[in-house]
Amino acid sequence: MLYQPQILEEALTLKADLGGDVDALAGGTDLLVALSRGQWRPKNVLDLSRVVERSEIRKADSRFSLAHGVTHAQLTRLPVRALAEAALSIGGPQIRNRGTLAGNLGTASPAGDGCVALLALHAEMELTRAGRGSRRLPVRDFFLDYRRTELRPEELITRVVVPADWTSAWHKIGKRGSVNISVVCAAVARSPQGRFGVAFGSVGPYPLTAPKTEALLNAAALTPELIDEAAAMAQTEVSPISDHRASAAYRRAMCGTLLRRLLTEHFLNGRD
């Protein structure tokens, strides 16, 4: 059965009622690939792409609140550098026009570029279950294991909230210039108070943060020496594997390289 509600409440009620028997479908850019590979055989589908106000972006209290259906194309214009650049690096124009940030979180791929930017930004997300209201959750608490998340079968991701006043930056290594899966990607963000967020993609079972590296950066003023220390530390915090996309050694080394580059180019000497 295909459900195509136009009102969020209706979608939430359906999800709460059917739970695991219905799968949310946003842009479909992950699900349709799974469908054609025979990896997704849904009983019922809840199409969220007709819900009004799904694309809404609100700004309040130096935060952007993004509705569940905000697409990567929309995010490329958001003045939050790491998230905008991550969004611009996703797929090609067609994928960015359809694919959503909520879908990126829902898939929870280790290579989810949007997830990595959100982790660095200490973003929060809102999970809602009809009848029980919403719970706010740091994105950092969302990922549990390989493609396992905090999302319960009765819930939908309704909003993502990102700080609007942080400095942030993003870099991705892939094998080509577009429609480019991350071999490694990294995001760094810093609050106006000087609190850092560091995250990496494709170097663990899910998008990873680097808390020890963050602590190092939070503790002292940024200098080239500290950057070197942080880059070395970050390499100890990731757990990449070798597969047909790249070797573990390369990925680990790149975490250091990208962190050093991002910190040097965007954060040292108060740049950006």
């Binding site: 094998k175 210039g177 899966i181 047909h244 070797s247 050694a249 390369y250 790149m254 390289t257």
Partner: protein, 797 residues
């Protein structure tokens, strides 16, 4: 007073009026014009029918193929009974049901249509399931129970050559070889002032054409008609007839619109399988299609080659000797491997004068996908090696790379690797054109951060077109006028996107003075056209182009004869141009060709001519690899790539690209340009990212998420330079363009990386990790692909 007569008034008018003919300037010939694609409109509007478009609109029944679960195993039993119980399944067929030889393979006929007792790679076909729907066919396929006795998987060249390696074929694991012995390479190397050595490893590449294998077949009790995309319909007909035990005249193969081939359709795909299903269900139209994963897992691939190359030179840069040993992963069956090996060896020293050459090429069976034809066909991998060696040598000598090339490139009258003398060698001209464009053009360079380095690399290659090596190589074509005033060309040759239809139409139209709009092509249908050989080996413009030109010029004689009786002059005094027969001398008078055609039919002319073009090449000597005419003619090409390399991450960006091709004559310049640009894109793919990853005989990346093809972002605008040094034997002087754009592109990119880093790449593709490992060899991890796990053996098998 005497008056003098007034002088005549001065005017600007010449004393003799020019005749009011519209032909003061001859109209442009269709040859050399970028005429609109004959198949363009129907393709961009979606009206053209590709094989998958017949599907399912014309199908009565659907077939699918069960493929091996094992890379290497004895097949103990195939239990089809559970499949027959699946709703909708109407037939399940195994090797016992195949009425003919049950064999395919372009050279060795060693590839079972349906495996009898032993599977040799994961794409091996075991059974064909026919059902009333595609999903029922798939369910039936999945219900079949196969019992195997697994055998050790021979996953790499090293595995295959190991002393205790399981024998994949009764004669062992070495499929065959090819050698060249010219002069005394060992001695010349010992005496050389400088010697450079390297081991190269090129990767397995997939053709990745857009239009995956599909087809429909129908058997009406008399003729088996198969609509499927290949590259040589007449050979396909022979192979299908043999495999299915049918007389050849009972098989008809028709090519639908086709989206790319690149050599990937030279071997049969599903044609025999769908044909078998049709034979078992007379009167029904059977449809069979692959998905992308099956297309990638079943089809042959480009050979991965390991090339040990030693090059010697005098102190002044003059090349003296090359010693080359090549091991090629042939995969499970021979495919066109024996020919690929020969092409690799005959192009081992490329466009350079090397007096002493010693080449050994070995093809080795493994349990990987069979490897066979792909654009470049062995010559491509060797170009990676010889062009890489020239740059290594230049560094060692402290010599300019371009100068070193100019010094050693064959000039007209010099011989290439095979000893064949090249009457018109234009490698130097191509190289100079590319360098001139590079130095006198291009945008100002953006400054780079310290971790990005810029470099440029150049390549010059030569390529022998056609099958060569004494292999029979012929094209036939028909040219005729129709009663509705069209010029019709009939050719068995295949159009798969390269522009063949325009090539033949423009040649025929030029020869007959007809506008291209009045030309039509009937092509690649064994029921209606004569054999024109394969659309491969860069041969169709030369071979079928010549056959068409011959037929057209004979037809022209008939038209001229008829025109003579209309214009009352000798036929020699008439030219055909722009749809008219026009008198050559005196006051031009003309008559429309359409009128002559109508009159000709009324007077009983057939106005239909067939012609054969079949030039001979000479077999390379078995011991020495030498032949005075290994190939009918050679193409020369030079490319230049400018790249930026991120030395910390290993990412490579191609910033600028220049390609110069001497094509003899560009029949359709826009098509030539398109072929060059596409080939460069494919070459950039091979140089930087494309790679089939095999694990224990299974392709680990059989999808476009992980088989990385270049995108628009990865290919800069290609600045093409077309040289036209006419080939004396080619139609209108044309040679061809097909494969060389890819061949030259790979080494140009690799040499640019070498220039940027100061370290020379030896393994393709140069993806970020590989480039990084070049700079950090201590960090290099064996790749996931088991074929590259061990050090290359330097010993001969």
């Amino acid at each position: 007073m005497a008056t003098t007569p007034a002088p005549p008034p001065v005017t600007d008018k010449p004393l003799i009026e020019p005749s009011p003919t519209p032909y003061a300037d001859p109209p442009p010939s269709p040859v050399g014009a970028s005429a609109r694609r004959l198949d363009g409109l129907e393709k961009v509007t979606g009206e053209a029918l590709y094989a998958a478009d017949f599907f399912p609109r014309e199908a009565d029944l659907f077939a699918t193929i069960l493929r091996s679960h094992e890379a290497h195993a004895e097949v103990l039993s195939i239990d089809t009974a559970p499949a027959m119980k699946v709703a909708g399944v109407v037939g399940v067929y195994t090797h016992v049901d195949v009425p003919g030889t049950n064999r395919q393979g372009l050279i060795k006929r060693d590839h079972p249509v349906l495996v009898e007792d032993r599977v040799r790679y994961k794409g091996d076909a075991l059974a064909v399931v026919v059902a009333t729907s595609e999903s029922a066919a798939h369910a039936g396929r999945d219900a079949i129970r196969v019992r195997y006795r697994p055998l050790p998987v021979v996953g790499s060249i090293d595995d295959a050559l190991a002393p205790k390696a399981p024998k994949l074929f009764p004669n062992g694991n070495v499929m065959g070889g090819k050698r060249i012995r010219k002069g005394d390479a060992d001695r010349a190397l010992a005496e050389a002032d400088v010697v450079v050595s390297e081991t190269f490893q090129t990767q397995t590449v997939d053709h990745a054409f857009l239009d995956v294998e599909a087809g429909i077949a129908r058997w009406d009790g008399r003729t088996l008609v198969i609509h499927a995309s290949g590259q040589w319909v007449h050979e396909e007909r022979r192979l299908i007839a043999l495999a299915l035990g049918l007389p050849i005249e009972q098989v008809r193969v028709i090519q639908p619109a086709t989206g790319g081939a690149f050599g990937g359709r030279e071997d049969l795909g599903m044609q025999v399988h769908v044909g078998l299903a049709a034979l078992k269900h007379p009167g029904k139209t059977i449809a069979l299609r692959y998905d992308r994963a099956e297309s990638m897992r079943a089809r042959h691939k480009r050979h991965a080659l390991r090339i040990h190359y030693t090059l010697g030179a005098r102190g002044d840069g003059t090349l003296t000797a090359a010693k080359v040993t090549v091991f090629s992963d042939e995969g499970a069956y021979a495919s066109t491997g024996p020919a690929v090996i020969r092409k690799a060896s005959s192009h081992a020293t490329g466009p350079y004068r090397v007096p002493n050459v010693h080449v050994d090429v070995y093809g080795v069976y493994t349990n990987n996908n069979p490897t066979g034809a792909m654009r470049g066909f062995g010559a491509c991998q060797l170009a990676v090696a010889y062009e890489g060696m020239i740059d290594r040598l230049a560094r060692k000598l402290g010599m300019d790379r371009v100068e070193l090339r100019r010094r050693n490139l064959v000039r007209s009258g010099d011989a290439v690797t095979t000893g064949q003398v090249i009457p018109l060698a234009t490698g130097v001209e191509c190289l100079d054109a590319v360098m001139d464009r590079f130095r006198n053009g291009g945008r100002p360079l953006e400054p780079l951060p310290p971790y990005r380095r810029r470099g440029w690399g150049v390549s010059t290659i030569c390529f022998g077109l056609g099958y060569g090596d004494g292999f029979p190589d012929a094209s036939r074509a028909g040219v005729r006028f129709t009663r509705d005033g069209f010029l019709e060309v009939l050719t068995g040759a295949v159009e798969y996107g390269q522009g063949l239809l325009n090539m033949v139409a423009q040649i025929a139209a030029a020869e007959l003075g007809m506008p291209i709009e009045k030309a039509r092509v009937i092509w690649a249908d064994t029921g209606r056209t004569l054999e024109s050989g394969s659309s491969s080996a860069t041969r169709q413009t030369y071979f079928t182009g010549n056959a068409v030109k011959r037929a057209a010029s004979e037809l022209k004689e008939e038209i001229l004869d008829i025109a003579g009786t209309h214009l009352h002059v000798h036929p020699h005094e008439i030219v055909l141009r722009d749809g008219l027969a026009v008198t050559r001398f005196g006051e031009p008078r003309s008559v429309p060709i359409a009128e002559l055609v109508a009159d000709g039919f009324n007077r009983g002319y057939e106005l239909s001519v067939k012609a054969l073009y079949k030039p001979a090449t000479l077999c390379e000597n078995f011991e020495t690899g030498q032949s005075p005419r290994a190939f009918i003619t050679y193409l020369f090409v030079s490319h230049l790539a400018q790249v930026v390399v991120d030395v910390e991450t290993g990412q490579v960006t191609v910033e600028r690209y220049i390609a110069c091709h001497d094509v003899g004559k560009a029949i359709n310049p826009q098509s030539v340009d398109g072929q060059i640009t596409g080939g460069v894109a494919q070459g950039i793919g091979m140089a930087l990212m494309e790679e089939v990853v095999m694990r224990e005989g299974r392709m680990a990346n059989a999808n476009f998420t992980d088989y990385i093809l270049p995108t628009f972002r990865d290919v800069p605008p290609v600045e093409t330079i077309i040289l036209e040094n006419q080939d004396p034997g080619g139609p209108f002087g044309a040679r061809g363009v097909g494969e060389p754009p890819l061949i030259a592109a790979v080494p140009a990119v690799l040499n640019a990386i070498h220039d940027a880093l100061g370290v020379a790449p030896h393994t393709t593709p140069c993806n970020p990790q590989r480039v990084w490992e070049l700079l950090h060899p201590e960090q290099a991890e064996p790749p996931a692909d088991i074929r590259f796990r061990t050090a290359p053996p330097h010993a001969r098998p």
